[in-house]
Symmetry: C2
Subunit: 189 residues, 2 copies
């Protein structure tokens, strides 16, 4: 994903403390053509996983997960952080620590859309410490469904989310990998 | 949009009090191919509007807004309901009443991505009372930018959001229109 790496080099900002600002093209303003490419690439890396569903968490994950689901031609399911009244009383629920909001958030998924037999590809914008991915995986387990892969747009390797997620025993794919931000720069792999 | 109307007839639920549950294909689980069609259709209805940006609010609006922006080949900008630390100190901010969460929510947009001269197409999943659209329009005004159109996937005509939004003086397009839900049915136009 050269296009993505170029955009990170050109437009991402290192805000310190591991915070990578990519609001210009990924998670506030979005470049749809770039994210279309990201979705196609993530889908191509998981063609053999036979996923029946893509699962992500609102909000930042929705865009890359939608584009991946579009190319895999499977439904997208996004976990909600608040429970709207359109969700049933009984839901799968877990919590996750948010890195950029400095607080814990709930994640809700309706059992209507996550079922035993589902083969679930987890997609998110970032792989940082792995908290969101592991929380999504716990929702999949509650449904007796199976995680078949993890795909992210940007991995911050220095926060070691890949190590945390290795316990899932599935392939983990990142379209761009940030090795280090400790010196004020953004060091890409 | 026959495909959309068929899905509403087959899979939407009338939960009473004007609440239309479409979590099976639109705003929890998403059918990417259907929403791809919705985005293409919304884009085609605004080709002459010369939009430079698509603006929506998280969460439900992101999917249709992304697909519309993809076909219009302009950036998508989604207003945040919480302010992550990646947003600058000074932001455009307003509030909106949430119909399905029974509370008021903030909306934040970074001035970095909404500027004088921008021609902004507002996209959302629903047009109900018009609260979200009018709040998004107020963010556009704060930026001295111009609203050039309003597009939604589903309009609930009986809640009269179209009348509320007529003050914007721009074309309003809905891909499906629900005329009445008062009898327990879902009456489509």
């Amino acid at each position: 994903m050269n296009a993505l790496q170029q955009r990170i080099r050109k437009e991402a900002e290192n805000l310190g403390q591991g915070i990578l600002k990519v609001t210009r093209f990924l998670n506030h303003q979005v470049d749809p053509l770039l994210l279309d490419q990201c979705g196609r690439e993530l889908a191509s890396r998981f063609t053999t996983a036979a996923a029946t569903k893509v699962l992500t968490a609102e909000t930042g994950g929705i865009v890359p997960a939608l584009m991946t689901a579009l190319y895999l031609r499977v439904p997208l399911l996004y976990a909600r952080k608040t429970k709207p009244i359109t969700l049933p009383e009984r839901v799968f629920q877990t919590t996750v620590a948010s890195h950029t909001k400095k607080r814990c958030e709930d994640l809700f998924v309706s059992p209507e859309y996550l079922q035993p037999g589902d083969r679930v590809l987890l997609i998110d914008d970032f792989l940082a410490f792995g908290h969101t991915i592991l929380s999504l995986a716990s929702l999949v387990r509650m449904a007796d469904a199976t995680v078949v892969g993890v795909g992210v747009v940007i991995e911050k390797a220095f926060e070691e989310g890949r190590i945390a997620c290795n316990s899932l025993g599935v392939p983990i794919e990142a379209l761009a990998t940030v090795l280090d931000m400790s010196g004020g720069e953004i060091v890409l792999a």
